[in-house]
């Protein structure tokens, strides 16, 4: 019984990570590094909580996805059309999200810290786990079986070949970023509507980067990436479970998931095979 409860808590903790890293997969497989996942999740978490407060949790969840998508498309504008350095632009998007949200909060609720707390029926109990599993299956199916998945992966591998086939590399990358934003936004929504009740300041707390780490650990493939997220989720669940144990400072326990991320990236990734042209803007 305890084991089952613990298992469920692992899945719960992993849910936002899975959404975000699947989103990151679309972006990066198409050739766009997405360090902005953190900010996109944050924005998704905020829009989800905001809409849920007035229009209910279902619309709130969708709004989280759309909020994430809009920020991802702004990012796309900068790096695809503007051909900007993707690390710098991604960092800028993260900073933008961190600055923009308190501004909205202040004008909406006269507080920069967060949204008001959500009531029980404004948040989910377990449904996002199902959504997450659907997203995983969908991502796998799209990458493996559909023409769109093929185009995404060729855009990040050999864009000349895609161009030669008469398909716009730029369009495929925008589409990938839109999917990325949608999924990462869902990740944010599952934070504010599922793991917590409402938006609180900086609630993503590095999960965007952790999702990126999981993506690298999972070699940019849906199922291994999912498993990596479960691993990171497990550390987070352990961390929560151990809180209050005698003799271990709580701050130390909180480090665990981040420590695990660093160790995994430094030691166990092995030969990570990134998409070939990742980070390189397309120009004919």
């Amino acid at each position: 019984m305890i084991a089952l409860a613990f298992f469920i808590s692992i899945i719960r903790m992993a849910t936002p990570l899975v959404f975000a890293s699947l989103g990151g997969m679309f972006s990066e497989r198409s050739g766009v590094i997405n360090i902005a996942l953190e900010g996109i999740m944050l924005f998704g978490a905020f829009t989800a909580a905001f809409v849920s407060l007035s229009m209910g949790k279902e619309l709130g969840f969708v709004a989280g996805g759309l909020g994430g998508m809009s920020l991802a498309l702004i990012y796309g504008l900068i790096v695809i059309h503007g051909r900007a350095n993707q690390i710098v632009a991604g960092t800028a998007i993260n900073l933008l999200a961190m600055g923009l949200i308190p501004l909205f909060l202040k004008s909406l609720y006269d507080s920069t810290g967060g949204t008001p707390s959500l009531s029980m029926d404004q948040r989910f109990s377990n449904l996002p786990i199902l959504f997450m599993i659907i997203a995983l299956a969908g991502a796998w199916f799209v990458m493996k079986k559909t023409s769109f998945g093929l185009n995404v992966s060729v855009a990040g591998e050999n864009p000349e070949a895609l161009d030669a086939a008469g398909i716009s590399v730029i369009l495929v990358r925008y589409q990938s970023l839109a999917v990325c934003g949608l999924l990462a936004g869902f990740g944010g929504a599952s934070l504010s509507l599922f793991l917590a009740s409402g938006y609180t300041r900086n609630m993503v707390a590095g999960r965007g980067f952790m999702a990126l780490a999981a993506l690298i650990f999972g070699k940019w493939k849906p199922v291994p990436t999912f498993l990596a997220c479960i691993l990171f989720g497990a550390f987070e669940a352990v961390q929560i479970r151990l809180q209050g144990a005698e003799g271990i400072p709580p701050e130390f326990l909180q480090i665990l998931p981040y420590l695990a991320t660093v160790l995994v990236l430094a030691g166990f990734v092995g030969k990570a095979v990134a998409p070939k042209v990742i980070g390189i803007p397309w120009k004919r």
Partner: protein, 505 residues
């Protein structure tokens, strides 16, 4: 061949970039079922012409007629729709995907759909048997041989119902056996009524496969010949625009010479290295050629020889009677070793540096050029200019960036630099790749000069003509092992080719 109406006809095609005409008044027509060879040196305008036929470039003036109708091609997609297909020198394949998925990719499905695996496979299998092509449709393309990758490119065009197939330097990366196989496929295509254009600077191959040859020089057609009525010498002269004399190379008498460089059972530390266990020795004043299809351990060998401390796994390297098995590149260079790297752009030059500054690379520790950490610009300039003059660099300039020189002249810069202080041993890896005929002659001469000055050369190349011409001795490698050894006089294309492809003598 047949005198049917032309499939494609170019009428006074010109393409200008600014005031420079890359193509000027090009007119020709290709009847159905013909193999047309287009030859010319680098920069003669071959690629520009093909790009116009394939819709990648719009002609400045002139027309293209397809099946008798005037047509303006605005994109490759447009060309494909009109039955024109092209196999680029660098294949347009996604290496992590199977042949099947690469063909699906080529269909250009932009909408969100299931990939039509089944129907595509069915038609592909039919095309394969029809044209005698055999490839693995399931394996990631990157794991297939270059020859098979080329077959996939051909299948792509057949799948798209191309009637005119353009090949840009199709044999550059193939082994002799693969070339034979490729030619067989081409002949089959011709039988089936396809029209084929082959662009190349390899005259021999054009002579053996084409029905007709067009020679381009300086953007103009200078000659058109029926293949049967011409020969190698005539084509070479037409291509270069002058009577061209190839000097005979005389083998050195080496029986008494001492060994300068020796390698015993060398293997490389690189993961999935193709270099297994290799042994050879190079004597004073000798050119040892290494023949092999690219990707059979040559790159690993070069790295292990130039930087043994980093790349050598096992085995012994002796240079000038010293055991240098754990030396670094710097130590080897100061002992008198030098290299013409296989990838000129990546490993030999810095494109946005001037020709003068590029001369310094690899000589940074020489007192002539650096005093008390300061670059001696004057001395550097003088030495570089003298060396470049000797190699007839064009333009003879110290200030032009490397990117402003042609491939041949870039390579001359590298050769001038690497041979500047008379190395005892030089590794020449594909020294004339992407280099025009004039520069090839100059570089071959330079390599022979090394010999005269009692230097030794390890010549690694996939160009058999070059190897046969220069080498005193020739090793054939395949799969990272030495498969055979020949001395000058017993070189035969057939034997060497068979060994290169993994066969037996």
């Amino acid at each position: 061949m047949s005198n049917l109406s032309p499939v494609i006809e170019a009428k006074n095609l010109s393409k200008a970039f600014g005031s420079f005409y890359a193509n000027e008044n090009i007119s020709f027509s290709i009847p159905k079922g013909e193999i047309l060879g287009i030859i010319g040196e680098n920069g003669a305008g071959k690629s520009t012409l093909m790009k116009m036929l394939y819709g990648q470039l719009r002609p400045t003036s002139g027309q293209i007629h397809i099946d008798g109708k005037e047509t303006s091609l605005t994109s490759p997609r447009d060309a494909i729709a009109r039955g024109i297909g092209m196999v680029h020198q660098h294949f347009m394949l996604a290496e992590n995907h199977s042949a099947l998925e690469n063909i699906i990719l080529a269909l250009g499905i932009a909408s969100f759909r299931l990939m039509p695996h089944k129907s595509v496979r069915k038609r592909l299998e039919k095309l394969c048997s029809e044209f005698g092509i055999s490839v693995d449709l399931e394996k990631p393309v990157g794991e297939l041989s270059v020859g098979q990758q080329q077959s996939i490119e051909i299948l792509k065009l057949l799948y798209l119902d191309s009637n005119l197939l353009i090949f840009d330097e199709p044999t550059a990366v193939l082994s002799p056996n693969e070339i034979e196989n490729f030619f067989t496929i081409l002949r089959g295509l011709r039988e089936a009524g396809k029209t084929i254009v082959v662009i190349s600077h390899k005259l021999k191959e054009i002579l053996s496969i084409s029905d007709r040859v067009i020679v381009l020089r300086h953007g103009k057609i200078v000659a058109e010949r029926t293949t049967k009525e011409t020969n190698l010498g005539e084509l070479a002269d037409l291509m270069v625009g002058a009577h061209f004399e190839r000097r005979e190379v005389i083998a050195s008498n080496l029986s008494a010479a001492t060994t300068v460089f020796e390698v015993k059972d060398l293997s490389s530390i690189e993961s999935d290295s193709r270099l297994k266990k290799i042994s050879f020795r190079v004597r004073e004043g000798e050119i040892l050629g290494i023949a092999g299809v690219e990707g059979n351990g040559q790159s690993e060998l070069i790295r292990a020889l130039m930087n043994p401390i980093k790349y050598r796994a096992k085995g012994e390297i002796t240079f000038c009677e010293k055991n240098v098995s754990a030396y670094s590149t710097l130590e080897l260079r100061s002992l008198g070793m030098s290299i013409l790297p296989e990838n000129r752009i990546k490993e030999a030059v810095i494109l946005d540096w001037s020709s003068r500054d590029n001369f310094l690379l690899g000589h940074q520790n020489k007192k002539e050029f650096i005093k008390n950490s300061w670059i001696q610009e004057q001395a550097l300039g003088e030495k570089a200019l003298a060396a470049y003059k000797e190699y007839d660099l064009r333009p003879l300039s110290l200030t032009h960036h490397l990117s402003e020189f042609s491939g041949g002249n870039q390579q001359k810069i590298v050769v001038a630099r690497e041979l500047w202080n008379q190395p005892k041993f030089i590794i020449a890896a594909h020294p004339t790749r992407g280099v025009d005929i004039g520069a090839i002659e100059r570089i071959h001469l330079a390599i022979q000069d090394v010999k005269k000055q009692k230097g030794s050369v390890l010549l690694i190349s996939s160009d058999l003509d070059e190897l046969f011409r220069l080498s005193d001795r020739l090793l054939v490698i395949c799969g990272g092992l030495v498969r055979g050894s020949f001395t000058k006089g017993e070189f035969s294309e057939e034997k060497v080719g068979r060994l290169m492809g993994g066969g037996q003598t």
